[in-house]
Point group: C2
Chain length 303, copies 2
């Protein structure tokens, strides 16, 4: 294995555990060998591949859209989810992670209001506009400038060793697919996320509906969506939060990103308390952003 | 392009149309160039990649299972869909193609009875047993010996030209995924079909549920599932029946297999009447199995 494969990773137990695992998987006749066909790797996005503070970036896109809708129809400001968002109500955001039914229903209704009836091209144009205009509030740069370079290197290392790499986020499948190819080197078909149902109309268009397809891609929804998309469970999985626990449990190798770098990124454990306990119990490899990563941000083109 | 790429195809308009289209797609700067990322090809299975007479092979597998259930519980013989199957009721099979609600409801309930609660490994073992034991009634060989060699050559040609090849059948996604890799050289994740919802249980298992995910993968369901799985609509699509019309319409290049070879396969137009009319109107390339194919059957290993 190339010594420069994980160039932004400092030598240490996390980097070594990754290299040892990949070495085992690819050693034919060895006890840890995995057939090439089975080499599926899956990664959460928010907080695993890019910054998720103060909120996952897709919220910035969605709330921007909803702010325009509230301006056009001020009565919305008194209704959920608009009210909770305007008030930055922490209980509401907690309710997303725990999939509280009232919160999810309100959210889905609002997504339907904004995008039901739209085509993929219309949605893509909105997301592209956001990727070039939005800035992360603390760091002052585009969200796509806040992708973790060490994870892109890991993607390349996995691919070089016969893995197919999938991104598997609670966020929107179609949102991520807009920038997946240029940002991660991951084809759209390898992006798994929460997703609206689409209808093929009599005049030959794909049009977004009101409902979502299957469960939200959080918690147990992650291995369910991974199985539906790939016919397998992952061999290698990476995440950073409690909503990734089931995906990491389903994998042979679990990688948990620990946000402990207040200087270059953020330091927080909120939403990852249970996963840190699980990591210890199940032997997942915990990555310290502060200690294990020499460089935090970077682009595919710079690898 | 290699002259031997489509070795089992006789020279003629169908072969030439395929070669010309691929040449256009891959000619950078030309009017028909398609970026590599967009090169998605999708193919129906039954009647497009293997024999579908007298019934699509998966019915043989399913009916074999149901015959055992009727033996164990004879009262089932008076209920749908078991009754219609025992009587080989043509109206019932027509009702599948047209997605008649009562027919689909009865079928899904019977699928649930047979497989709800099962794991993918259990289902795979049943399908594998069937692939080695079942024989096509007229031709007397295993169904996997009745895969069309010219189509496997076409898959390879498309892949050699940057396409990702997907199989997209009305049949069961999980059924096809069992043999997709060795039979077609298509990874499980590139198999799209009608599919049950699966649940990830608290003890870490993927278990089949009662419901299906989205629509059946027939008619407009095909482009819907293709978009959901890949984020795109196909550039190249192949089918042989009216349930493939929307998928072929959604593609830049449509290939329609015409079953006109009673000596080596079967001759029938039933279920393909509207697609033949569409082919003429929309300029799809119609393949005569009798005239365009030098060899009909073959295996991936023989290419």
């Amino acid at each position: 294995m190339s010594q420069t494969a994980l160039a932004s990773w400092r030598d240490g137990t996390a980097k070594q555990a990754i290299l040892d695992f990949i070495s085992g998987v690819t050693t034919e006749g060895g006890p840890d060998f995995v057939a090439v066909a089975d080499r599926i790797a899956t990664f959460d996005n928010d907080g695993t591949l890019w910054v998720e503070q103060p909120l996952p970036p897709q919220f910035d896109f969605v709330f921007g859209t909803w702010a325009k809708e509230i301006k056009a129809d001020p009565a919305l400001a008194g209704q959920q989810p608009y009210k909770a968002i305007l008030e930055r109500d922490p209980a509401f955001f907690q309710g997303i992670a725990t999939q509280e039914p009232a919160v999810i229903t309100a959210l889905l209704a609002a997504f339907g209001r904004s995008w039901a009836g739209s085509t993929p091209a219309e949605f893509e144009a909105q997301v592209r506009e956001w990727t070039v205009s939005a800035k992360q509030p603390k760091l002052g740069v585009s969200y796509l400038d806040l992708v973790y370079k060490p994870m892109l290197e890991l993607f390349n290392l996995l691919k070089d060793n016969g893995f197919r790499v999938f991104v598997c986020s609670g966020g929107g499948r179609d949102f991520m697919r807009v920038f997946a190819e240029e940002t991660w080197g991951v084809n759209k078909e390898n992006v798994i996320g929460s997703a609206a149902e689409y209808t093929y109309t009599a005049d030959g268009k794909i049009v977004r509906g009101e409902e979502i397809l299957g469960r939200l891609n959080l918690g147990p929804g992650k291995p369910e969506h991974i199985f539906a998309q790939t016919g397998r469970l992952p061999v290698f999985a990476g995440g950073n939060a409690d909503v990734d626990i089931e995906m990491l449990e389903a994998a042979k190798f679990g990688l948990l990103i620990n946000h402990d770098d207040p200087d270059r990124e953020f330091a927080y454990t909120s939403g990852a308390e249970a996963s840190m306990v699980k990591a210890d119990k199940l032997g997942w490899t915990v990555v310290s952003m502060k200690n294990d990563w020499d460089t935090v941000y970077g682009k595919l083109a710079d690898l």
